[in-house]
Amino acid sequence: MEKDDKQRIMLEKVLKEHNYQESALLEILHRAQEIYGYLDKDLMMDISGSLNLPPSHVYGVVTFYSFFKLRKSGEHVVTGCLGTACYVRGVEQIMEAIEQEFKLKRGGSTADGKLSLLLTRCIGACAMAPNIVVDDEVIGKATKEVVTQKIREVLGGVKAET
């Protein structure tokens, strides 16, 4: 409960910073997602009330932009860059290797909620293609071996042997 209050206070600060302007909806959603991790129904209702916007408008915006998440993602997040340069340089094979080894599908998480595998259209590091982002670290000129090893490391190395 305490934690919730603290998050709400942070959100209020953000709203105030933006003067409760409707036009700052995207910035507010960005910050709200930073604070809460994802945007659930209650949070969207809260924001719609604060900005005096219909809930449908807020939900419409959230679902239009792929950056906003409606569900909590895993403790660790791996993002594959599916930009043109990465595709041409074989990111697909790395994604398949991750899916196989860690038993999850792109867009989803492992059953234990430890790992999510997401896709992005381009992180703009094309000269280093293929790129995979493990948590916040960009791995350029990625190979299956390097990436799966890195993921095992962030997961704590437990899963590696099975």
Binding site: Q21, H30, F64, F67, R89, T120, C122, G124, A125, C126
Partner: protein
């Protein structure tokens, strides 16, 4: 022995394939693939003894020789986090010149004379756009700088923002003075955290020095600047969609007219300009439009930044004069295809660009020549494709991208692209028929001609150009069920369809 040596962080030099890179001045010594151990050697031999470490120097001189760096003039040279660096490189003197000696009309005149065209892709004459907004009596007026570099495979705007943020801000200030705007937004995609940080810092520094805000350089000119973040929508780069997004709505394009120059943000006159276009402005003001028009070709002046990627020996960010040939870019600067593989095609203009074969490499790079062969300038993406890639699969990949990114507002784009993708799925799973080729051709033309915005109008380009230049691969897939690159006819997707 005492020697003073300043160690500075800079933006990207553009030689991404041999990073990390270290530049030692004076003398422009560029060291490649530097490691902590190698740094010790550089300091000992080069800095202390004055003997450059030859075998660690960047050897590919051709990479820089054919380039002409105007927009990227400061990239790799100044510390982007210090406004003082930008100022001592001549920064903000163009703004000072405008405010002290030029009328708004005079500024527009120079931009018209320069022949500069929008670098976001469409190539609309910049000076003409400025006159349109300037002429409107409706106030307030706005400026939106487009840094929503959504094209996968492109990173020129990101590099510019990270290496020389003040060039963008100065360009915006000059534009604001010329058209009479008092408020501007830089719309930047959220996938670029470092660029956001760099710009935030630059804006704060400019404000602290009274280069933004009220009474700029002690004149009556005022201009305020805010950042707006994208959230992962390719279509937001379209000029009416970006307006919707800045206003906090879904980034959906609307029909034009009215054009943003008359009715843009909150129905007020708005100038929308790509950040690369804006970074050219201080140079034009400083040196005159006539000086600028001498670079490039008569109809297409200046330079263009290109992100050179894919199967190429020297990937990176380059800036070349307009009119250079594709062959010079791919082979002389880019060093051709690595690992002894054969060049197959070059994709020019991002996911809705065209795939061009080797026979077309002699064409000059300018808006009109590229459009003639079915490609576009777009935001300057050049992706080289070698014999390991299948052209049918490549066209399928881009179509899938555009299906994902279509906003869904108009039917040709929403339904038409989905139809194209169905046909591609059929062909790449071995169920293609010869009539599918005609379906692709016909639908592609319909989508191109009937869609509302640039996304739909250019989305079929990869399909149309691969059909034009690589039809034999389609036929092989359909008749012989063969993929020359061994990419197609997998069964995984079929399972997923269930």
């Amino acid at each position: 022995m005492e020697k003073e040596c300043k160690v500075a962080r800079t933006g990207c030099i553009g030689t991404c394939s041999v990073g990390p890179a270290v530049l030692v001045e004076p003398g422009d010594y560029l060291y490649q693939s530097v490691t902590p151990d190698k740094v010790r050697e550089i300091v000992r031999d080069h800095i202390v003894l004055g003997l450059p470490v030859k075998d660690m120097l960047y050897k590919n001189e051709a990479y820089f020789q054919k380039q002409h760096r105007l927009v990227l003039r400061n990239a790799g040279k100044i510390d982007p986090s210090r406004i003082q660096d930008y100022i001592s490189a001549g920064g903000y003197s163009a703004l000072a010149k405008c405010l002290a000696t030029m009328t708004p009309q005079g500024v527009i005149y120079e931009v018209v004379t320069s022949g500069l065209r929008g670098r976001g892709g469409a190539g609309f004459p910049t000076g003409q756009k400025w006159s349109l907004v300037a002429r409107s009596h409706n106030t307030p007026k706005y400026i939106v700088a487009n840094l929503d570099e959504g094209d996968p495979g492109v990173f020129a705007n990101r590099t510019l923002a990270e290496a020389d943020p003040h060039a963008i801000i100065e360009g915006m200030l000059i534009a604001a003075y010329a058209i009479g705007a008092e408020k501007g937004y830089i719309y930047i995609r959220s996938e670029y955290p470092l660029a956001i940080q760099t710009l935030q810092k630059a804006i704060a520094q400019a404000k602290a020095m009274s280069l933004l805000g009220e009474k700029i350089l002690e004149t009556s000119f005022k201009f305020d600047l805010e950042l707006r973040f994208g959230a992962g929508a390719f279509v937001a780069g379209e000029e009416t969609a970006i307006l919707a997004s800045v206003e906090g709505r879904r980034a959906m394009p609307r029909p034009r007219p009215p054009y943003p120059a008359n009715s843009g943000l909150w129905q007020k006159p708005t100038l929308i300009q790509n950040v690369e276009t804006l970074a050219n402005i201080p140079l034009i003001v400083q040196n005159g439009g006539h000086w600028f028009s001498k670079t490039g070709t008569p109809k297409c002046t200046g330079t263009k930044c290109f992100s050179l990627t894919g199967k190429i020996s020297n990937p990176g960010l380059i800036e070349v004069p307009m009119g250079i040939t594709l062959r010079e870019v791919v082979f002389d600067i880019g060093g051709g295809v690595p690992d002894g593989k054969k060049f197959k095609a070059v994709l020019v203009g991002g996911p809705s660009g065209g795939c061009l074969p080797e026979t077309l490499l002699e064409i000059p790079i300018d808006y009109d020549s590229l459009t003639k062969v079915g490609a576009i300038m777009g935001s300057g993406g050049i992706v080289v494709i070698d014999e390991d890639s299948c052209m049918v699969d490549t066209a399928r990949f881009f179509t899938e991208f555009c299906v994902d990114e279509s906003c869904g507002k108009c039917t040709p784009c929403r339904a038409g692209l989905a139809r194209l993708k169905e046909v591609f799925d059929k062909i790449t799973h071995g169920q293609g028929e010869m009539s599918d080729i005609a379906t692709l051709e016909k639908s592609g033309v319909y989508i191109r001609d009937a869609s509302l915005c640039g996304l739909g109008q250019t989305a079929p380009n990869p399909v149309i150009t691969t059909l034009r230049y690589f039809k034999d691969e389609y036929v092989k897939h359909i008749v012989e069920k063969q993929c020359v690159a061994g990419k197609c006819f997998k069964t995984r997707d079929e399972e997923e369809l269930e």
